[in-house]
Assembly symmetry: C2
Homo-oligomer: 304 residues x 2
């Protein structure tokens, strides 16, 4: 089990020389996901050596430009790179038409299929699942329809504890499947051997929750409870809670409160407003409530 998050961009909308809009690259249990795709994301992917061909799934939180305007350029580039594998794109209703019309007017003739999964539910729903990972939406509260995403590794099967099993001549190879599935064994004598004696627990499944953009929304806590890593937006500091409320963003203090109440392993904050020159203040403010807080910065890698 492994989880590694690379920040490609982590600033809010207005363009600045050393600011990059939201985008993240997540490697989880050998799956590779792109999360949000602000303008310039494809250049950031090159800069931080993200393998373009590894990504088959792109998750867009909402359709504001600073989370989405890099998508059409990236898809166009996949066309230039002669991609053939299908690409799955998850995002709010409307993403498909706007993207395809832009590609059409550019006469971008991609050979690969783009499969859009348009979201409109206000409840958390399972939107992707394979044998390695599942992805659920985290309904957020922003000025437009917005989802965060919860990425969770699949639990691996229990492993046989062969040393212990060999103590029981009565246990046959034919029993192994049941033992792996967690069942106890009843010996011919009627003695019960508990599964915990016969198996080794697999490594704990890891999880990552991405929450941007949103106002303070404590009802996401049950969904993200105990995740190993939480990214939560922090556009403002607590001194501008009024502005956070008005624009449906969060303060760093609020992000930390969510992390604390959800008992997560680590918090990463980002989406800093351009009004703050010293982003270390975001970390300082959050740490007062939730100690294990880190700052998102372009190129920074978080490994669990």
């Amino acid at each position: 089990m492994s989880l590694q998050l690379t920040i490609l961009g982590c600033h809010s909308a207005t363009p600045r020389v050393n600011a990059f809009p939201t985008s993240q690259y997540l490697e989880i249990n050998n799956q590779h996901f792109l999360i949000d795709c602000g303008e310039g994301t494809q250049r950031q992917m090159r800069k931080y050596k993200v393998g373009f061909s590894k990504i088959d799934h792109i998750f867009i939180s909402h359709l504001h430009g600073d989370h989405f305007y890099g998508l059409v350029g990236l898809l166009s580039t996949y066309g230039i790179l002669s991609r053939e594998k299908e690409m799955h794109i998850y995002g709010p209703k409307g993403i498909k038409n706007a993207t395809l019309q832009m590609l059409k007017v550019s006469e971008s003739h991609a050979k690969f299929n783009m499969i859009f999964h348009e979201l409109s539910s206000k409840e958390s729903e399972l939107i992707f699942e394979d044998d390695k990972v599942s992805v659920r939406t985290i309904p957020l509260n922003h000025r437009v329809y917005t989802n965060g995403y919860l990425f969770t590794e699949k639990e691996k099967a229990r492993k046989l504890h062969m040393d212990n099993i060999s103590n029981y001549v009565e246990i046959d190879r034919a029993d192994y499947l049941n033992i792996k599935a967690g069942k106890d064994v009843i010996l011919p004598t009627g003695e019960i051997v508990p599964n915990s004696e016969l198996t080794i627990s697999p490594k704990k499944a890891l999880s990552y929750a991405f929450c941007s953009d949103t106002s303070y929304k404590p009802d996401i806590i049950p969904i993200i409870k105990n995740v190993n890593l939480l990214y939560h937006e922090a556009t403002f500091l607590a001194d501008r809670e009024d502005l956070a409320k008005k624009t449906k963003h969060s303060t760093s203090k609020q992000a930390a409160q969510i992390a604390k109440d959800a008992e997560v392993g680590q918090l990463v904050v980002g989406h800093y407003s351009g009004r703050y020159k010293d982003i270390s203040l975001f970390q300082k403010e959050a740490k007062e409530i939730f100690e294990n807080t880190e700052l998102a910065e372009p190129g920074k890698v978080f490994k669990v």
Copy 2:
């Protein structure tokens, strides 16, 4: 009269860390124009200190992503910056719908009017004119409908040569308008005083031609004849003329031939393919045909 061109981006489509797609900022006779707007242009504008509010006219050559995918983000930013002045956008038919649909899906509520001037003519046409500058299209030959743009300063009126005029007591203030307009003066004696004696020539009107993307197209020469500054794309070197022909691009040699035949003041080449690591080869190749050739590079300024 003044002409200053700032290169914001000058590379071809595939993303690279230190490559930026086409965009240029032109200051001509106190007018301020943006030419092409590849992804990331707004960040390059910040980097090279282009005043966002100065620009009221954006010219898009064609709708390939590397010349156009930065437009929607820039317009969205103008909305965030509370722009109120109208913005004129010139480009191929289709630009309006694709742009507006993308802005609509993002719920970008701009207060300013966007006036799209959609182009479809295959002949050179006058598309903008005020008392300072005129702009004509330069029909190019690329894989999609493409125009270059010719920017020409308006000739200023002739100035009165007051020292010489004062030699003629017969000339009255009432004659000045005719003299400025270039007319000779007939004295009561019948003597003709030539206008050239009574006026000073204004500074020569300057002109800039932007030609990207295009295959070698010598029929643009009459349109761009004698311009002070010519930007002509050079995607390939002469060793890959076959590829230039196939993809409807030009070689540096071909760009230089156009510059020579059009007898321009200076040539700037750009739009280098990513296959060439050493772009100085583009200059070397062009100089063999047209000596006054410079390389486009991000942030480079050309002053006439």
